[in-house]
C-alpha cells in the first residue's frame, strides 16, 4: 500500500471514537439528505404531474402570444379537425380541443364572472381530471347541447343545483354580443379553489355556436404518458403542427408559470437548510482535523526531518478527511437509500403534509422514488465540503518547522 494512504488510514483509527463521531455526523446528515431530497424530488414530480393532469395538460397547441395575453380572437382555426388529426398522427387519444371565453354567469339572483371552456365531451376526460371529479349530476355528453358543468364553489356562490338554468353573457370572437341559456348538468369538485370558483365547461360545438367561433377554438390540449415523456412528445407535435400553420406548442412551464416558481421557492428554502447542515458537518471535520494535526505536531516534525516534504504531509491530512468522508458517504448512502427505498414501498406521511398535499393535488401519503441523483447529490456535496474543510489544516502544515515541531510533546 502507498505510504501516504497507509499513514492516513492508520492515523484516522488512532482515535476511533473521534473518527466515528465525525463520520457519524456525516452519516447522519447524509441519511437525512438522501431521504429529504428523494422525498422532495418525488413531491415535485407529483406536484407537476398532478397539477397538469387536472386541467392544463403537458402541452397545448395555441396561437402565438395566446399564452401571455389570452385574447378571444387569437384562435386556432378548425380546432376539432386539428385535434382529430393529432390523435391519429400521434396514435394517442389524450388529445382534446378547447375554446375559452369570459362570460357573466347569472342565476336567478346572482351574477359571477367566469372562464368558460368549450370542450369535446368525448375527448376531454382523456386529458383532464375534471370530468371525473363531477360530484353531482353528470359530465357533458352531447357535442351541441346547451348544458354546462361548474365548480362546487361557483355553484354555491350562484346558489344553483343540477338541472337549474344559468344565463351566460359575453362577447363573441368578432366583438358582437353573445348570450345563451344553459342547464347545469353537473357540479365538480377539484379541491383547487381557483378552479372550483372560476371555471365552467360546455360542449365545444355549442360554445362555437354561442360565441360565433366559426369552427375555431383556442387550444389543443395534449397529455403525455408522464412528465418525462413530455419533451419528446412535444417535439413530435411540433413537427406535425409546424410554424407555417401559425401555431405554437406551449410546454407545461409556459402554461403554468406559477408551478415552477412554487417549486423553486420551496427548493431554495430547502437547500438553504441543507446548506446549514452541510456547513455544520464541515465545521466538525475542520475541528477534528485541526485537533488531530495539532496533536501530531511532534511526529510531523519527525517525518519532515526524515525527508518528507510538507506538501506530502498536507496530502496525508487531506487523504484522512477523504477517507472519513468516503466512509460517511458510503454508509450514509447505503442507510439513506435503504430508508428511502423502504418508504417508497410503505409510503411516508407527516403532520402538515395534508395542507400542501391538497394545494398541489398530492396524495396525503408520498412514496418517495429512489433515483441516482436524489441519492447521490446530498452526500456528494457533504463529501466535497469535508475535503474543503481539511484544506486549511493541511495548508497550515506548510509553515511547520521540523525542529520546532519535534520540540513539541
Amino acid at each position: 500500500m502507498n505510504i501516504v494512504l497507509r499513514l492516513a488510514w492508520r492515523n484516522i483509527w488512532r482515535q476511533p471514537r473521534r473518527t466515528w463521531l465525525t463520520t457519524g455526523a456525516m452519516v447522519f446528515s447524509n441519511i437525512l439528505l438522501v431521504f429529504m431530497i428523494s422525498l422532495q424530488f418525488g413531491m415535485y414530480g407529483l406536484m407537476i404531474n398532478n397539477t397538469l393532469q387536472v386541467f392544463s395538460g403537458h402541452m397545448q397547441v395555441q396561437a402565438p402570444g395566446y399564452v401571455d395575453d389570452a385574447k378571444m380572437r387569437q384562435v386556432v382555426d378548425d380546432v376539432q379537425p386539428l385535434a382529430a388529426h393529432l390523435r391519429e398522427a400521434l396514435g394517442s387519444d389524450t388529445v382534446a380541443a378547447r375554446a375559452r371565453a369570459f362570460a357573466l354567469a347569472s342565476s336567478e339572483d346572482r351574477t359571477y364572472g367566469i372562464a368558460i371552456y368549450g370542450v369535446e365531451p368525448r375527448h376531454e376526460p382523456r386529458v383532464s381530471n375534471l370530468p371525473g371529479l363531477v360530484e353531482h349530476g353528470r359530465y357533458l355528453q352531447d357535442d351541441d347541447a346547451y348544458e354546462i358543468v361548474i365548480g362546487s364553489v361557483l355553484a354555491r356562490n350562484l346558489q344553483v343545483a343540477t338541472g337549474d338554468e344559468l344565463t351566460l353573457l359575453g362577447s363573441g370572437v368578432d366583438g358582437s354580443f353573445a348570450a345563451a341559456v344553459v342547464v347545469v348538468a353537473g357540479i365538480f369538485e377539484s379541491g383547487v379553489k381557483d378552479i372550483d370558483r372560476n371555471i365552467a365547461q360546455m360542449p365545444l360545438t355549442a360554445f362555437q355556436d354561442m360565441f360565433y367561433m366559426n369552427g375555431a377554438g383556442h387550444q389543443v390540449v395534449i397529455l403525455a404518458p408522464s412528465l418525462a415523456d413530455a419533451p419528446e412528445l412535444q417535439a413530435r407535435v411540433e413537427a406535425l403542427v409546424g410554424a407555417d400553420d401559425g401555431l405554437v406548442v406551449q410546454d407545461w412551464d409556459a402554461l403554468q408559470p406559477g408551478l415552477r416558481q412554487a417549486i423553486q421557492a420551496d427548493m431554495s428554502s430547502a437547500f438553504f437548510m441543507y446548506g446549514i447542515l452541510v456547513v455544520l458537518v464541515a465545521f466538525s471535520v475542520l475541528n477534528t482535523q485541526l485537533m488531530s494535526v495539532l496533536e501530531r505536531t511532534h511526529e510531523f516534525g519527525v517525518v519532515m526531518a526524515l525527508g518528507m516534504k510538507p506538501g506530502l504531509l498536507g496530502r496525508i491530512v487531506l487523504l484522512e478527511s477523504a477517507l472519513m468522508g468516503l466512509l460517511g458517504f458510503v454508509l450514509g448512502v447505503i442507510a439513506g437509500t435503504a430508508l428511502t427505498a423502504w418508504l417508497s414501498v410503505r409510503g411516508f406521511t407527516m403532520p402538515g403534509m395534508d395542507e400542501m398535499a391538497a394545494q398541489f393535488n398530492l396524495p396525503a401519503r408520498i412514496y418517495p422514488p429512489v433515483t441516482l441523483l436524489s441519492v447521490a447529490i446530498g452526500p456528494f456535496v457533504v463529501f466535497v465540503f469535508t475535503l474543503l474543510a481539511s484544506v486549511y489544516p493541511a495548508w497550515r502544515l506548510r509553515r511547520l518547522h521540523p525542529v520546532e515541531a519535534m520540540r513539541v510533546n
Binding site: 505510504i3 497507509r6 499513514l7 492508520r10 492515523n11 488512532r14 511532534h298 511526529e299 519527525v302 517525518v303 519532515m304 526531518a305 526524515l306 525527508g307 518528507m308 516534504k309 510538507p310 506538501g311 506530502l312 518547522h401 521540523p402 525542529v403 519535534m406
Partner: protein, 230 residues
C-alpha cells in the same frame, strides 16, 4: 572530498531577555568517510550543530555546505529532498512514527524514496536482525522499550545507506552491550561504505570508537583531535 563544511555559523536563541548563543562563529570541515564524535557539556550546542548540518535549522549567519552543495539557502522542499536522499538521522528522543510497526518505520524512508517493496522488505529485515530486533518486526513503538525503539530509529537512519549519518545520543537508552554492538555496526558501515558519521554523545563508550573527537562549549569548538579508534 569534503562531506560537510560549516563556515563561521552563528545561531542565537532568545529566551526572554537573554540571548543564548547556541552556535558562536563556529567553523568545521568534515571529510567524506570520517567518523566524528561531538562532545560537550549539556547545552553546548551539539544538537544545534547537527540540525544545521542536516538542514533542519538554518543558522542566522555563515554558510553550510553538504556534499558540495550550499544548503543554508535552500528551500524547505530542496532540504527535504537532500535529507531523504543523502542523510540519515538518529534523534535524541526516539521519534518513531507511532502508527507504523518497527519494520514499517525502518521502511519508511525507502518507501518515500520509492524503493520497491521486495527490496525494502529484505533490507529492513536484515537490518532489524543486525540491531538485535529479530521477532519484534511487527510491534508498534508503544509496544517496545526505549532501547528497542532507539535501535529501530538507528535502523531507519542507516537502512537506505545514506552518505551522511547524523546521530544525536544514539546510545542514550541502550545498555553498554547493545551500545557497543551498535557502534560496531556504525564502524562497519563507515569502513565498508565510506559513510560519514557525526555523532553527538556524552557516552565515554561511544567516544572510544571515534576517529576524530570534537569538543564544544557554549557554541564553540574548543578541541578537535584525531585519535586511534579502539
Amino acid at each position: 572530498m569534503t562531506a560537510v563544511r560549516c563556515i563561521d555559523i552563528c545561531k542565537t536563541y532568545t529566551q526572554g531577555d537573554v540571548d543564548i548563543k547556541a552556535l558562536d562563529h563556529l567553523s568545521i570541515e568534515i571529510e567524506k568517510g570520517e567518523f566524528v564524535c561531538l562532545m560537550s557539556p549539556s547545552g553546548g550546542g551539539k544538537t544545534t550543530l547537527l540540525n544545521a548540518i542536516g538542514g533542519l535549522d538554518i543558522p542566522d549567519s555563515g554558510e553550510v555546505w553538504v556534499g558540495g552543495q550550499r544548503i543554508d539557502q535552500m528551500s524547505k522542499g530542496e532540504l527535504a529532498e537532500l535529507r531523504l536522499a543523502n542523510i540519515g538521522f538518529v534523534f535524541q528522543a526516539y521519534n518513531l512514527i507511532p502508527v507504523l510497526t518497527a519494520r514499517e518505520n525502518v521502511e519508511f524512508v525507502m518507501q518515500v524514496q520509492g524503493v520497491r517493496p521486495a527490496e525494502r522488505h529484505v533490507k529492513s529485515m536484515v537490518l532489524l536482525e543486525e540491531v538485535g530486533l529479530e521477532g519484534l518486526e511487527d510491534r508498534l513503538p508503544a509496544e517496545m522499550s526505549g532501547g528497542q525503539q532507539q535501535r529501530v530509529a538507528v535502523a531507519r537512519a542507516i537502512v537506505s545507506r545514506p552518505e551522511l549519518v547524523l546521530a544525536d545520543e544514539p546510545t542514550a537508552n541502550l545498555d553498554s552491550h547493545t551500545a557497543a554492538d551498535l557502534m560496531e555496526l556504525f564502524v562497519q558501515l563507515n569502513e565498508h561504505h565510506q559513510t560519514t558519521f557525526v555523532i553527538a554523545t556524552h557516552d565515554q563508550g561511544v567516544m572510544r570508537y571515534a576517529k576524530r573527537l570534537v569538543r564544544m562549549r557554549d557554541g564553540r569548538i574548543v578541541d578537535d583531535v584525531q585519535q586511534n579508534a579502539a
